[in-house]
């Protein structure tokens, strides 16, 4: 079962994350914690005029949480905050198994994590970065 979700996309992002680093130009940072795995992750974004110009994450965690964060950043950098919010919703739908094929395509590489829905104990690992992002966006929007 597990081998299905440790696919190449996930393994590659875990071993060679592009976005695992500090971000000196960050305009905001949020920490997320998954106590069951002991994953802790901080998301850093540089947002200008409602667009995510750059982003990174720091922290430690299991392959699922690390790869998911890296894939998410690939997907959202260069997009608007509204688009990122939409993708978070889609990711949630994918994990709960309610996503349509068209929507799955929008998630691009993140669709490699679809099988996580079959491992309930790991869902929190996969959604950690996305939940952190959602939280961050809602705090930003509430402050506006």
């Amino acid at each position: 079962m597990a081998d299905n979700f440790y696919n190449e996309v996930l393994l590659d992002h875990n071993l060679h994350p592009q976005h695992l680093h500090e971000l000196s130009c960050a305009t905001c940072s949020n920490a997320g914690l998954n106590p069951t795995c002991g994953d802790s992750l901080t998301l850093h974004l540089n947002i200008e005029d409602g667009v995510i110009k750059d982003g990174s994450f720091t922290g430690v965690g299991c392959a699922v949480s690390q790869a998911s964060a890296d894939i998410m950043l690939d997907l959202i950098i260069g997009r608007s905050v509204e688009e990122a919010k939409h993708l978070c919703r889609l990711f949630g739908k994918m994990i709960s198994g309610e996503i349509t094929d068209d929507e799955l395509e929008e998630l691009e590489e993140a669709s490699a994590l679809a099988n996580i829905s079959k491992m309930p104990a790991r869902v929190k690992c996969a959604t950690l970065s996305w939940k952190t992002l959602e939280q961050m966006i809602s705090e930003i929007q509430a402050a506006e």
Binding site: D3, Y6, C37, G38, C62, A63, M119, R122
Partner: protein, 406 residues
């Protein structure tokens, strides 16, 4: 002795022929002998015990009290008054903290807890200390999980009311010298509370010999059903402790103004008790006795040595705690460089091997050792050489399956 004989007692291995179960420190599987005893009780002897004035209730009461006697004998207690049935080790430890703690721990008193304790033998003391303004202190262990007598002596002060320590750590698998600790504590006028959750199922434990003041353990970790546990307490101590939960069965006489409480051990057993669980525990004790601890210990030591030796040969695998197999009675906690323990457990699962990953309810210890989380394999006597082989085979493939070359 052929190990396969033992597995055939456990129906789960018939249901899942391919299962390698190496999470025995979390809970053990249940033998047919236990399942049948519980079923027989519910089929033929079930009634509300201790209060019914009719034959069937007497049967239920006897079943329950016979189980208590079996436990007494199993751990060498003087009297069945010293055996309180609870839900599990956690409840037993909480009972002590609530009842003994609230009555006898005062501001400025000290409670000493071993750093490797399970949260169940740590949080009740932390909360109690906060409530009472008492001081919670830790006895630190070395890298191999060892505690020294000198460190214990140094940590005890005239104000130390109580020392809480497991006989076997659920992370290190190391056997702590509880008998010596009890002597040292008693010289200091300190009570010793022993968490036997990982020792009672796997080795002979005799409270008179160890001379501990209290001992807690869980039935489900020793082949009995979930939901039955034991608190042993020295009679004089239990006698002066106030009740823990209030309700039916634990009273003698109740008026509008007050109540007098039932005799030990019923004082601590409010409400309808878990007779089915107690019957299962009784059957589990009989089962253990029928195999014999000499065989159980020998078998578990053999398997531990086999697993430990082979694990040491697997590159990138780091074993936590003792550097020799004898320090790991049935429990081997480890990490693999570059692979998170939850990923380790998931890969084992894909090969139908059940192990545990996380902090094993011992976060202060993980902080002390400066590791985030770990993976743990834990044995019982019914495991066999083939289980260990399969475990090692998967262990050797994990880095490759996580994308590392070579």
């Amino acid at each position: 002795m052929m190990s396969s004989n033992y597995k055939s007692d456990f129906p789960v291995f018939g249901a899942y022929k391919d299962l390698v179960y190496l999470d025995n420190a979390a809970t053990t599987q249940k033998p047919r002998q236990v399942l049948e005893a519980v079923e027989k009780y519910y089929r033929e002897e079930n009634a509300n015990p201790l209060r019914g004035l009719y034959g069937l209730s007497v049967k239920a009461t006897d079943a329950y009290e016979n189980a208590r006697e079996a436990v007494r004998k199993f751990i060498g207690a003087k009297s069945t008054k010293e055996i309180v049935f609870t839900r599990n080790a956690s409840e037993s430890l909480n009972l002590i903290a609530y009842s003994f703690g609230r009555a006898f721990i005062n501001e400025g008193d000290e409670i000493l807890v071993a750093i490797s304790e399970h949260h169940s033998n740590f949080l009740p003391w932390q909360i109690l200390a906060k409530e009472k303004g008492a001081v919670l202190k830790f006895l630190e262990c070395g890298r191999q999980g060892e505690y020294t007598e000198e460190a214990l002596r140094a940590a005890l002060t005239p104000r130390t009311k109580l020392f809480a320590a497991a006989q076997v750590s659920n992370v290190f698998g190391r056997i702590n010298p509880i008998k010596r600790f009890a002597e040292i504590c008693h010289e200091n006028g300190t009570l010793i509370v022993c968490d036997g959750a990982q020792s009672v199922p796997h080795m002979p434990v005799d409270v008179a010999e160890l001379d501990v003041d209290m001992l807690a353990f869980s039935g489900h970790k020793m082949f009995a059903p979930m939901g039955i546990g034991v608190l042993y307490g020295r009679e004089e101590l239990l006698e002066k402790m106030p009740p823990f939960l209030y309700g039916g069965e634990m009273i003698e006489y109740v008026t509008r103004e007050g109540a007098t409480y039932a005799e030990l051990p019923h004082k601590f057993e409010a409400g309808t008790v878990n007779v089915g669980g107690a019957v299962g525990l009784h059957a589990a004790i009989d089962y253990i006795n029928s195999i014999g601890f000499e065989n159980i210990v020998r078998r578990e030591d053999e398997l531990t040595a086999l697993a430990f030796g082979k694990m040491q040969e697997v590159p990138y695998v780091n074993i936590i705690g003792g550097e020799s197999a004898v320090c790991h009675s049935g429990i081997i906690t480890f990490t693999i460089d570059g692979v998170h323990p939850h990923d380790i457990a998931a890969i084992f699962d894909s090969d139908n091997i059940a192990i545990r990953a996380g902090h094993h309810c011992a976060q202060p210890l993980h902080q002390h050792l400066a590791v985030q989380s770990t993976a743990r394999m834990s044995l019982a006597f019914y495991n066999d050489e083939e289980d260990i082989e399969r475990f090692i085979k998967t262990l050797s493939t994990i880095r490759r399956r996580m994308g590392y070359g070579g």
